[in-house]
């Protein structure tokens, strides 16, 4: 079942994701700057930052354990694997046979767990606080994401992302009301998961409000670089999931290389739009108190469940 | 009359007289034990004979042995023997603590033998009249034993025991008269009309109207001695205030014997009536006893009183089983009779030593027995575990059969049994656990004197071992008896 072309496609997609991820982050930052009419950092700023961090020497806390040093690579690895699963250009991906939507959620959860543990490792006030908040966001966002994926897989009778993409992209166009609910839920979830306003603010170090930043306070040098890279990779993965579920059009079916080549600009376009949309949302909404995050995510969870119910009610 | 049977009855009678004359000498206790042992030997011989050549009647059919009473005879003789062994050191200690006078000891020993005699008489006689006389005599022999300590409480207990059982037994006599009245129509006047074997053959022709009324009187009469609620009031007092060996035999033997009498009449009555009148009544009273006793249990402070109530509960269960009837349920009832008397007497032995060590019967003051005296502590624990119906002890076997039969054939009874057993478990175990485990407490410790005589633990563990054996394995010939007896009861 594993074809050579499949492997090639798989590798291209993975490489693409890893390389493009910081670009997406940069693009979102740029859009935000424009919308806030500041003058924007260059598009490639994230790459520069990463490079700088890689060159810096690592400063470890005295009591940092091996887990602390291993975590950045583990997190990065998990997110790469996640990225490899999500079909972006074509749907002929060998890994799709090995890991489906549920496994995808599992990998993301694994990454979250490691980052939270790393945050607790040194035993600083902010690290533990951040870890707790991260897990709080996680235990509400994760099932919501799973429900969103379930809705899609109920529609396409499969939990394999490739099959989902194909069914949604290449069947005759049907309007799925359930997907509308799922879409809203997904947006909320991905805002929370990627440490975006209104749940978190990537651009702040104001202790009492931060979540993601608080966890990684102790990291420096290449470790920090890996974590930052992983973060932008996460944003990329979520965007791609969104695209697969809601705008899969233009994705190449099977392993025809022409389709893949055509799919690339389509993908870039969709990502650009998505990034802009994200920036817009962040612009328009205000950061909410951490205590209101559960309500926000609870709503997302309920919407996702509702999406499934709607599907069962109307679409069979 | 076969020699075994003669010895069986003669030995305790002779023992009673001998000990009455002998008085409180140094070896009185040993003599008492010896007589009981001899009685047991006779019983064993009788059993082997019955196993060899089946049931038989003796002395112009005034006496008879069938599978139903032979195992009760064996049981009674056995428990009487072990209790005598237990009471040897126990009563010595009581004597030296000055709770009993020399005269008291004389009375105790001779009455102990007489009591055994009366019970064996009830079991072996074929004549329902004699049965009544012996039953009344059993009350009379024990009533003074209950009052042995001459304390306020023991006198009160004995008085209630005497009056309530006396009155009850009087009702039983009226019932017996009515049975005779019904029987002489068919069998003609004379003792023949009171022989159970005779009645059993003609039970179909007995007059239903008379028999139903008769059974009512008999139920109220013998039921009082069985301790069925609401006729049970004497039982806890008598058990709690008498000397522990007496509590052991009252609970372990007397109740069984009374129930035995009731069963004999139940067989005839159900034979005479077409509707299951007697069975229904027995089921009802049995359930009532189980439920009410379970509720009483949780309010007890005195350990002997608590186990007295547990005896009421188990008697209720047995009565219910016989009321339910059928080969399995009756089998279970008989098995439960055996298991209960073995276990309960073992418990009373352990309790006796425990109370002597701790110097009190109040459970709240007894703590950490497992430290004070591990053997007694374990005896009490295992006994309690057994009586609560936890496997692999035999009590569980019988309860298993009773409950499973109950839900299948009288589903309405199942929830009552479930709740009652649950409550009684909570009550008994909740009170025994802190007594046995944990650190010894001061009030408990204060009294821990080296007892002048080593406690006799052999009886405790012998009984528990037997109960354990019955739970896992039953010798085929025993099983044979039980089956035949169960068929007899129907």
């Amino acid at each position: 079942m594993i074809s050579l072309s499949g492997l090639a496609a798989q590798f291209t997609e993975l490489a693409l994701a890893v390389l493009l991820a910081p670009l997406l982050t940069g693009w979102v930052n740029q859009c935000r700057a424009w919308l806030q009419n500041r003058n924007a950092p260059p598009l490639l700023q994230p790459y520069r930052t990463l490079n700088k961090l890689f060159q810096k020497e690592v400063v470890l806390a005295h009591n940092a354990s091996p887990l602390f040093r291993a975590a950045p690579y583990l997190i990065f690895g998990c997110l790469c694997a996640a990225a490899a699963i999500v079909p972006t250009l074509g749907t002929d991906l060998p890994l799709n046979a090995a890991a489906d939507a549920i496994a995808l959620v599992g990998l993301l959860a694994l990454a979250r767990m490691f980052i939270a543990l790393a945050g607790m490792d040194v035993g600083t006030a902010f690290g533990t606080l951040g870890a707790r908040r991260e897990m709080l966001v996680g235990f509400l966002a994760e099932p919501a994401l799973l429900m969103v994926l379930f809705t899609a897989s109920l529609i396409s009778n499969s939990t394999s992302l490739a099959t989902i993409a194909e069914t949604l992209a290449h069947k005759e166009f049907v309007i799925y009301p359930s997907l509308a609910f799922a879409g809203v839920a997904f947006t909320m979830v991905s805002l929370a998961e990627n440490a975006r306003i209104p749940v978190d603010n990537p651009a702040t170090h104001l202790e009492l409000t931060m979540i993601h930043e608080a966890m990684v306070l102790e990291y420096s040098g290449r470790h920090l670089a890996m974590i930052e890279w992983a973060a932008s990779l996460k944003l990329f993965v979520y965007s791609c999931i969104g695209l697969v579920l809601f705008f899969p059009f233009g994705i190449a079916e099977g392993g025809d290389w022409l389709g893949i080549v055509l799919a690339l600009p389509a993908l870039l376009g969709k990502l650009a739009l998505g990034g802009a949309l994200l920036a817009l949302i962040e612009m328009l909404s205000a950061k909410m108190r951490i205590f209101r995050a559960p309500e926000f995510l609870g709503t997302a969870f309920l919407l996702a469940v509702l999406a499934m119910l709607v599907h069962v009610l109307l679409e069979r | 009359m076969p020699a075994e049977m003669l010895l069986l009855l003669a030995s305790p009678l002779a023992g009673g007289l001998a000990l009455a004359l002998m008085g409180h000498r140094r070896l009185a206790a040993e003599v008492n034990a010896a007589f009981s042992a001899f009685t047991f030997a006779a019983a064993a011989a009788l059993v082997t004979r019955v196993v060899a050549d089946g049931p038989f009647e003796a002395l112009q059919r005034q006496f008879f042995v069938d599978s139903l009473n032979v195992f009760l005879v064996a049981l009674t003789a056995f428990v009487a023997m072990t209790t005598a062994l237990f009471s040897t050191p126990y009563m010595r200690v009581e004597r030296e603590h000055g709770r009993v006078t020399d005269g008291g000891m004389r009375l105790y020993h001779s009455m102990y033998q007489m009591f055994t005699f009366t019970m064996l008489l009830v079991l072996t006689t074929n004549n329902l009249g004699i049965m009544w006389v012996a039953m009344e005599a059993a009350t009379l022999t024990t009533v003074l034993l209950v009052a042995l300590y001459r304390t306020h409480a023991s006198l009160e207990a004995a008085w209630k025991y005497f009056i309530l059982c006396g009155v009850g037994i009087a009702q039983a006599l009226f019932g017996t008269i009515l049975v005779y009245f019904a029987a002489e129509k068919i069998l003609g006047a004379g003792t023949g009309a009171l022989l159970w074997t005779e009645l059993d053959t003609v039970k179909g022709q007995l007059e239903p109207a008379v028999m139903s009324i008769a059974f009512v009187f008999l139920l109220v009469g013998y039921g009082t001695k069985v301790g069925l609620v609401p006729l049970h009031n004497w039982l806890p007092d008598a058990h709690a205030e008498g000397p522990t060996p007496v509590s052991a035999v009252l609970s372990g033997l007397l109740l069984n014997v009374a129930l035995y009498a009731l069963i004999r009449f139940k067989v005839i009555t159900d034979g005479a009536l077409e509707r299951p009148f007697a069975s229904g009544l027995m089921m009802g009273f049995g359930l009532l006893s189980v439920a009410v006793a379970a509720l009483f249990l949780s309010r007890q402070r005195d350990i002997k009183r608590m186990f007295a109530y547990s005896s009421i509960e188990h008697m209720g269960l047995i009565t219910f089983a016989f009321g339910l009837g059928g080969p399995v349920a009756s089998f279970a009832g008989l098995l439960h009779m055996t298991m209960h008397s073995l276990t309960k007497s073992a418990i009373f032995f352990a309790v006796g030593h425990a109370t002597q060590k701790a110097g009190t019967q109040i459970m709240a003051d007894i703590r950490g027995l497992i430290r004070l005296s591990p053997t007694v502590g374990w005896g009490l624990t295992l006994g309690t575990v057994a009586i609560l119906g936890l496997p692999p002890f035999g009590v569980f076997a019988s309860e298993f059969l009773i409950l499973t039969q109950a839900i299948a054939r009288a589903p309405w009874a199942a929830p009552i049994l479930l709740v009652s057993l649950g409550i009684s478990f909570a009550a008994i175990f909740g009170k025994v656990q802190p007594m046995v485990f944990g650190e010894p407490q001061l009030p408990g410790l204060r009294h821990v004197s080296r007892l002048p005589h080593r406690p006799a633990l052999l009886p405790v563990f012998a009984h528990l071992l037997l109960v354990l054996m019955f739970g896992l394995y039953m010798p085929p010939y025993l099983a044979g008896w039980y089956r035949q007896a169960a068929l007899l009861i129907g």
């Binding site: - | 009344e136 008085w159 009056i163 009155v167 009226f174 008269i177 009245f181 806890p236 009483f296």
Partner: protein, 220 residues
């Protein structure tokens, strides 16, 4: 002649029994209570003897004599001695007042007759009516035991219950077999002796024979 009036005589004696039972319920003084008990015993003796003579059941003479010895002579004598030794001559106060007790008694009699009716119809003996009365006597003595708070009257009630039972035996079935009559008599005698011992012990503990002192053992 007597042959002819025999049954009526027996019924007469039966009604006397019942009358005496009521008398005992209503009686306040212990001495006269004992005398009434003796009288009841005597009536029982008469009726037993009469039945024996009428039916030629010789063993009944035996039980008649037994009754005379035990119930008319021995027991009353023991009781008299007891109360002299314990000097308890006070009046008996009852837990339920006399008239109420009497009313309950009437109800009991009706009940007893109704219960006994089907049985007496079956009785082939010439004394069929007596069974109901005997039952009534038993129940009345029972009632008496319930209503009296002192030990001695309770015991007397107990004994008169035995009378009722004997009467039932005689009336319904011409008496139980002799062995059993003796056995019963023996039990009653021994019981009486034990009671005697009891009275003294209770007395020495509580210097009173009021059973209301005997209410310490109870659930809290």
């Amino acid at each position: 002649m007597l042959q002819h009036y025999g049954p009526q005589l027996i019924n007469l004696l039966a009604s006397v029994m019942l009358l005496l039972a009521f008398a005992m319920i209503s009686q306040r003084r212990i001495i006269s209570l004992i005398n009434l008990f003796a009288a009841q015993g005597f009536t029982l003796f008469l009726s037993t003897a009469l039945v024996a003579w009428l039916t030629g059941q010789n063993h009944l003479y035996g039980s008649a004599l037994l009754t005379l010895a035990l119930k008319v002579i021995a027991l009353p004598w023991i009781l008299h001695r007891l109360i002299r030794r314990l000097n308890v001559k006070w009046d008996v106060e009852t837990l339920i007042n006399i008239p109420t007790t009497m009313l309950i008694g009437i109800v009991l009699v009706i009940l007893a007759f109704n219960v006994a009716l089907p049985i007496s119809l079956l009785a082939g003996t010439l004394t069929k009516a007596t069974l109901g009365i005997a039952l009534a006597c038993v129940l009345l003595s029972f009632l008496m035991m319930i209503t009296r708070s002192k030990a001695v009257p309770q015991v007397i009630g107990f004994l008169s219950m035995e009378n009722g039972l004997f009467f039932a035996a005689t009336g319904a079935v011409y008496g139980m077999p002799m062995v059993i009559e003796f056995g019963i008599a023996l039990d009653v005698l021994v019981g009486m002796l034990i009671l005697g011992i009891f009275f003294f012990r209770i007395r020495e503990r509580f210097d009173s024979l009021d059973t209301r002192h005997l209410e310490k053992l109870k659930e809290h």
